[in-house]
């Protein structure tokens, strides 16, 4: 029994953190809110060159071929930096979904393009009405009536649905399924889609961990500097306890998220259950951290100019995306109690 990451996995995390500190500081996140597409090609290029975007893409097709356990710490870093880019959709979900469900030709066509950053691939699975980043995607993997389809972005009619998080560009899409768009059906499709849904929830959970930890860190910074009554407000016990409560929530969500990544990578029989536990706990933890952060910032945290809201709104969005805490607990409840 060894509950720890390998030196390689930790080194990749450190390297990505350093890259994001340079390439994705808060002004970059903020700029994505007001840009036309919400997407920064320069950032996407950096993430691709780092190897993140193609991390899960098939090694036989130009990808790095790594698994959920290798990815989870990197997603956490994306959360920490509130990265405005569809890493969850393209890397955590779409690449493995293509690998699991598509034939060789389709994989040969799209995996190298995805891994090299030439093409953005995103997903729209049943259970969600929205496709993230459909405006910048080249290909969208869509589920309909148990079938998986791959639809070129040009063949979609998109309706923008504005998110509270200005960097998340959501769309409802209309499209016509056809023999050409069909990737897989039957058992193959349903198994691949179920795994994709678990990967999405796991990736959201990992990002929520990073978001929550960063909101706590921002708040620690603020309450150490801000003075009232002649003292740093962080010396007041009420403030301390808000942050301590948040930290307990986050640090006890963390091992559930890591275990879920391990179970996904290993194909453990209970992996879906483990993912649900992770997503439920991480969503709750981020919610608590966001509340504590806002409360301890006071009005400055409530202002649009301050960066806190960029993180907080991402946390709200990801808390509900890929299944809310309550939905995931319901799934655990079914396993414990039956139906």
């Amino acid at each position: 029994m060894r509950f720890a990451f390998s030196p390689d996995q930790l080194a990749m995390q450190t390297a990505l953190r350093a890259l994001l500190e340079k390439e994705c500081p808060a002004p970059v996140v903020r700029a994505a809110w007001t840009s036309d597409t919400g997407h920064s090609p320069a950032l996407w290029r950096s993430l691709t060159d780092f190897g993140l975007v193609g991390l899960t893409a098939d090694a036989a097709h130009g990808g790095v071929g790594l698994d959920e356990l290798d990815l989870v710490l990197l997603l956490e870093e994306c959360g920490r930096a509130a990265v405005p880019a569809p890493v969850l959709e393209a890397t955590a979900v779409a690449a493995p979904l293509l690998r699991d469900a598509a034939n060789d030709a389709l994989n040969a066509r799209w995996q190298p393009a995805l891994a090299s950053g030439e093409a953005v691939v995103t997903v729209g699975l049943a259970g969600s009405d929205f496709v993230v980043a459909a405006n910048v995607a080249d290909l969208v993997l869509l589920e309909r009536s148990g079938e998986l389809h791959a639809v070129p972005a040009g063949a979609l009619t998109r309706t923008a649905q504005r998110s509270v998080d200005g960097s998340r560009r959501l769309f409802t899409v209309q499209w016509e399924p056809s023999a050409e768009t069909l990737v897989a059906d039957g058992e193959v499709a349903s198994r691949a889609i179920a795994a994709a849904r678990d990967r999405g929830a796991l990736a959201a959970a990992a990002q929520l961990l990073g978001l929550a930890r960063q909101m706590i860190a921002m708040t620690v910074g603020h309450v150490t500097v801000r003075k009232q009554f002649g003292a740093a407000i962080g010396s007041f016990q009420a403030v301390k306890h808000h942050l301590a409560n948040a930290l307990v929530k986050v640090e006890f969500a963390r091992p559930l998220v890591y275990r879920a990544a391990y179970s996904m990578a290993r194909g453990d029989a209970d992996r879906s259950l483990h993912v649900s536990m992770a997503k439920a706990q991480a969503s709750d933890a981020a919610e608590v951290a966001a509340r504590a952060a806002l409360q301890c910032h006071g009005a400055i945290g409530y202002s649009y100019e301050h960066d806190l809201h960029l993180w907080m709104k991402r946390a709200w969005a990801l808390g509900a995306a890929w299944g809310s805490a309550a939905q995931h607990r319901a799934r655990v409840g079914e396993a414990l109690f039956g139906g």
Binding site: M1, P255, L256
Partner: protein, 386 residues
């Protein structure tokens, strides 16, 4: 990362399970917090010792199996899953023993540990005093030098000593240099509770059992051999092991996993609406989180790392979880929740109300949760002290 067990660990788990299945009393022992129940628990502790299950992680020379931390976790899971008796030896084997391993002399270890493991000597802890609770450094019990006899004379009052009225020995801090700063000049003593000058008074706990004791000391002689870790070094010695205790040994995940599993069973037996079912699921997830968190900690310790202030996160988490789980159980039981002991209609002999009362102590003992949250904020997050 590898969360699987080795064949040897699986075999260890199975051996523990088999032994517990064959030996755990089929009707629960009466509470070990009363004199009569304590005596029966002492017999149980001896039985554990004879089969070498009392202190699995200790060296074989002291009655253990030299088990790894992973194996210790497995044993604890099996122990609580089997519904085995409460461990009256706990304060000795989990709190004093690690301190002895770190700071004791060879002679002290050889003399004390085997008797502790066999429950021939059961230990009480004597930190709190009427004037020193959360602010332990405010303690005033003192020890004065007795050169003629080669030891110390202890006077003062210790309070809230768990099962102190039934124990044989007590460990605790006493002031040996009254002129020193409040965190200095204390010494860690091992005190025989049957020595002349010691008066022990049982004090009832919330559930009515004699689980607390006041210990009055009036010029009690303690030889130099019973000083642990050096004169005037008591604070450092006591603090060095508290975080590993809070962080690992005091409350193993097995206990909460077992409670969560029983809670699921209770929900199935009595039925739960959607909201209560959600509460049960939360308990199950939290218990699982605690198990995994502990595996992280164990891995860090096995890699040579230490457990620092983050042990306070641990203590807050398990104590609040325990309260939530019992509160949920009582809600499931509805009007039967209030029935205790031999009430014919009581569910599981009123175990949930009994457990609820004990769970409520969790946020108080081992450093209150308010104090733990101060520690988290100041020493983990780095917020300024006031």
């Amino acid at each position: 990362m590898d969360l699987s067990l080795t064949p040897a660990e699986e075999a260890f788990r199975l051996e523990a399970r088999r032994w517990l299945e064959a030996n755990v009393p089929s009707t629960p022992l009466p509470s070990g917090d009363d004199a009569e129940g304590f005596a029966l628990h002492r017999v149980w502790e001896k039985k554990l010792f004879d089969a070498r299950w009392a202190v699995v992680s200790w060296p074989e020379a002291y009655g253990g199996r030299g088990a790894s931390l992973v194996e210790w976790l497995l044993f604890e899971e099996e122990y609580y899953r089997a519904g085995a008796p409460q461990r009256i030896a706990q304060n000795g084997i989990f709190l004093l023993a690690p301190t002895l391993f770190e700071f004791g002399t060879q002679a002290q270890r050889d003399r004390i540990l085997p008797r502790m493991a066999a429950a021939l000597d059961v230990w009480a802890q004597g930190w709190s005093e009427p004037g020193a609770g959360s602010d332990l450094a405010g303690l005033t019990s003192r020890a004065v030098r007795d050169d003629a006899r080669g030891g110390w004379r202890l006077s003062g009052q210790k309070t809230w000593c768990t099962r102190g009225a039934h124990c044989d020995w007590m460990f605790g801090l006493f002031r040996t240099d009254p002129a020193a700063d409040r965190h200095r000049g204390m010494t860690y003593f091992l005190v025989p509770l049957r020595a002349p000058g010691v008066t022990v008074r049982a004090v009832g706990r919330l559930d009515g059992d004699d689980g607390f004791a006041d210990v009055f000391l009036d010029d009690v002689f303690v030889p130099d051999d019973d000083v642990l870790g050096g004169v005037h070094k008591g604070w450092e010695v006591a603090m060095a092991t508290t975080s590993s205790e809070r962080g690992l040994t005091l409350r193993s995940p097995g206990r909460f996993l077992a409670t969560a599993a029983r809670l699921v069973d209770l929900g199935k037996r009595f039925g739960v609406d959607e909201r209560l079912r959600d509460d049960v699921v939360r308990a199950h997830i939290d218990a699982e989180a605690y198990r995994l968190y502990t595996q992280q900690t164990v891995t860090r310790v096995m890699d040579g790392g230490s457990i620092g202030a983050e042990s306070s996160l641990n203590k807050v988490f398990w104590s609040e979880l325990d309260v939530r789980m019992h509160a949920t159980a009582l809600e499931i039981l509805g009007e039967r929740a209030e029935l205790v002991d031999d009430a014919p209609a009581a569910v599981d002999l009123g175990a949930w109300m009994k457990g609820h009362q004990f769970a409520l102590a969790g946020p108080i003992y081992a450093g209150t949760n308010e104090i733990q949250k101060n520690v988290i904020a100041e020493r983990v997050l780095g917020l300024p002290r006031r």
